[in-house]
């Protein structure tokens, strides 16, 4: 057991898989010699050499095309898209090609590949480098969508993603890179599509993802001081979605609050809310409350960004509204 940053867990997870399977290759902008702009891939080039760790031009379509073509023909690529905002310059590869090809070809083509990307706000990078776009990915059939909140989950879910026979979008939350957590020694392989109950309480269920998980836990602490005990579920994966864990908890608590970093409209919380409103309506004792970033781009100034992202106070308030 060692204490590791979320950032270092990325390199550890990639290295674990590259060590195990020679067909795993890794490519992206500044990922090799520079170790990545977030320093999340330091050391991989030295360890695995320039054939398997490839620096690319600023050509996101070419990066994902290379990953896709390689995955079709026997490799298991991990591609990095530096910031998830840049998915917009290569969305055709993601949404139209990678997501659809197995289905369109009646199962002929397998695409075992992972696309990692730094997602989310909180670091004052402004509207074009701070978006949470996991809901863009969730909306496209054919993509698995993962977003870890702890260093341990980074390693285990990354390994699971690399071993998965289908394309996985792996969202690393950039404000979590410096955070630390215990990571067991040896190989770690987790299971996609399983949520984790991070705290247990009988009064309400909070469902959160990535950077919103620690905030939800802080909100749970604050609520606990008022005598309100909430369950906090870390979804970890949006596709597959662990509806069972969420629904079981809602049946127990009767109240659901989702906490999303993405802007309001069509966020993953809407999907979760709609599932519960269809399948567990009569188990609800209060409105389903969604706490989200308002439906605006993220402003750059620290004061404004802090005011836009879901805060502990807004989560606490959301739970109170759910309980009313």
């Amino acid at each position: 057991m060692a204490e590791l940053t979320y950032r270092d867990a990325v390199a550890r997870g990639i290295a674990q898989e590259m060590e195990r399977d020679p067909s795993v290759v890794f490519l992206g902008e500044d990922v090799g010699a520079a170790g990545g702009v977030f320093k999340a891939t330091v050391g991989l080039l030295d360890r695995f050499g320039p054939q398997r760790v490839a620096d690319t031009p600023i050509s996101e379509q070419a990066i994902l095309g290379a990953a896709m073509g390689a995955a079709m023909t026997g490799l298991r690529p991990i591609a990095e898209i530096m910031f998830s905002d840049f998915f917009a310059v290569c969305w055709d590869l993601v949404a139209n090609e990678i997501a659809k090809t197995r289905y369109m070809t009646n199962g002929q083509v397998s695409l075992p590949l992972v696309i990692r990307s730094a997602n989310g706000g909180g670091v004052r990078f402004g509207a074009q480098h701070s978006q949470s776009v996991e809901n863009w990915a969730m909306a496209v059939p054919g993509l698995k969508v993962v977003a870890p909140s702890t260093p341990r989950d980074v390693v285990g879910l990354l390994a699971a993603a690399v071993r998965d026979p289908d394309p996985v979008l792996f969202f690393e939350q950039k404000s979590l890179y410096p955070t630390k957590g215990e990571v067991p020694d040896g190989e770690i392989v987790d299971t996609l599509g399983t949520a984790a109950v991070r705290r247990h309480g009988r009064d309400a269920t909070i469902v959160a993802l990535a950077a919103m998980v620690p905030r939800a836990l802080d909100a749970a602490d604050a609520l606990s001081r008022e005598g309100v005990e909430v369950t906090v579920i870390d979804l970890r994966s949006l596709v597959p979605l662990d509806v069972t864990t969420v629904a079981t908890s809602v049946v127990e608590t009767g109240h659901l609050v989702t906490v999303e970093e993405n802007p309001r409209l069509c966020g993953w919380g809407a999907e979760v809310a709609s599932i519960i409103a269809e399948e567990r309506l009569f188990d609800l004792d209060g409105p389903i409350v969604r706490v989200t970033t308002p439906h605006v781009p993220l402003p750059a100034a620290d004061a404004l960004e802090d005011a836009a992202l879901p805060s502990v106070a807004r989560i606490v308030d959301g739970v109170r509204r759910a309980l009313q």
């Binding site: 095309g65 073509g69 079709m72 023909t73 590869l93 197995r102 289905y103 083509v109 289908d166």
Partner: protein, 343 residues
């Protein structure tokens, strides 16, 4: 047209590599089969049996056939929505291709892809792509993989003139050059995007060849209606790529006889242009050439008759197939065979 006629070689032209006679008759056979197949597809569309859209390569057969003949079985093909001929060139069964156009269970992808997405991994036909540009980058990936696996496979990627103006073209060409990938990019310049002449929307005269230098590549411009030239260019480019020389970009000048897609009569094109190009139809032209080279006409007639019979049989077989099983709607999104997104 004068310009093109000028460039058209007199007599028996050669590409970089001259083809032996058995290869040339094989190329003729491929072209005749393609022509027969697509004409039938068009008839079936008129009968309401081919649904959705389809894009014929009538008139452009010499490109698919010349390259098809030059590829090894282990090489990869990447094509566009106008990919019937490239699919047949790799040996995919005619009946399965026809059934796919008709949306039947016996289709190459059981109807799930349709005419625009013909794929037969078994034949290393790695897909037909319907959004302009992307597949150039994907072909790079197959070539990269071949290189890393030391497999000696070359990826050949076909696309149109209009495709040279989209961003993915640029990214793909640059990466292929920088990584020295074994990939051959083949621009079939048929002078039109959908209904717009390529010359009106492109900064250079030869949309691919005039841009080769921007990627450190040599320009290659061939008469795409001359199967000997396409075969020769294919051999040269593929061998260059296979031997570690990096990518090639070939521009083949050609013309589609019909409209852009099945419902388009192609009336926007000047009559003289259409007529001149019909006069350069690659199939009768090659037939004459083969006769001139000493091939017995009976051999060619037999090829033509067999092709017709094969098309008839394929159409019958396709028509006999039922519509796809409706359970396919939820099948094969994932490797586990299903499409579930939840617990």
């Amino acid at each position: 047209m004068t310009e093109l006629q000028d460039r058209q070689p007199a007599g028996d032209p050669v590409g970089a590599i001259a083809a032996p006679l058995e290869v040339r008759t094989a190329i003729y056979k491929m072209m005749v089969e393609m022509r027969g197949f697509e004409k039938r597809a068009y008839d079936l569309f008129l009968q309401g049996l081919v649904k959705g859209t389809s894009h014929l390569g009538l008139g452009q057969e010499a490109v698919a056939a010349g390259f098809g003949a030059a590829m090894l079985p282990s090489d990869y093909t990447f094509a566009t929505y106008r990919g019937h001929n490239h699919t047949l060139a790799r040996g995919a069964p005619m009946a399965a291709v026809m059934a796919e156009l008709m949306g039947r269970q016996a289709g190459l992808m059981a109807g799930k892809g349709g005419s625009m997405h013909l794929t037969s991994v078994e034949h290393r036909m790695m897909g037909s792509y319907a959004i302009v540009g992307a597949h150039l980058t994907i072909a790079n990936g197959a070539a990269w993989s071949s290189k890393l696996r030391h497999a000696g496979e070359v990826a050949v990627c076909f696309f149109g003139d209009g495709t040279t103006n989209i961003g993915a073209f640029h990214e793909a060409l640059n990466l292929a050059a920088v990584w020295k990938l074994p990939v051959v990019f083949v621009c079939e310049n048929n002078r039109w995007m959908e209904y717009t002449p390529i010359s009106s929307v492109t900064a250079v005269e030869h949309p691919a060849a005039d841009r080769a230098r921007a990627y450190g590549l040599d320009p290659v411009l061939v008469d795409g209606n001359d199967a000997d030239q396409t075969y020769g260019a294919a051999r040269a480019a593929i061998e260059h790529a296979r031997s570690g020389g990096g990518p090639a970009l070939v521009e083949a000048e050609t013309y589609r006889h019909g409209g852009h897609s099945r419902a388009d009569p192609g009336k926007y094109r000047p009559d003289e242009e259409v007529e001149a190009w019909l006069g350069r139809d690659p199939i009768p032209r090659y037939r004459t050439r083969l006769l001139g080279a000493g091939v017995d006409e009976a051999v060619l007639v037999r090829i033509e008759e067999e092709a017709q019979a094969a098309v008839d049989a394929a159409a019958r077989e396709a028509e006999a197939s039922p519509p796809p099983d409706l359970s396919l709607v939820g099948a094969d999104l994932w490797a586990d065979g299903g499409s579930s997104w939840r617990s």
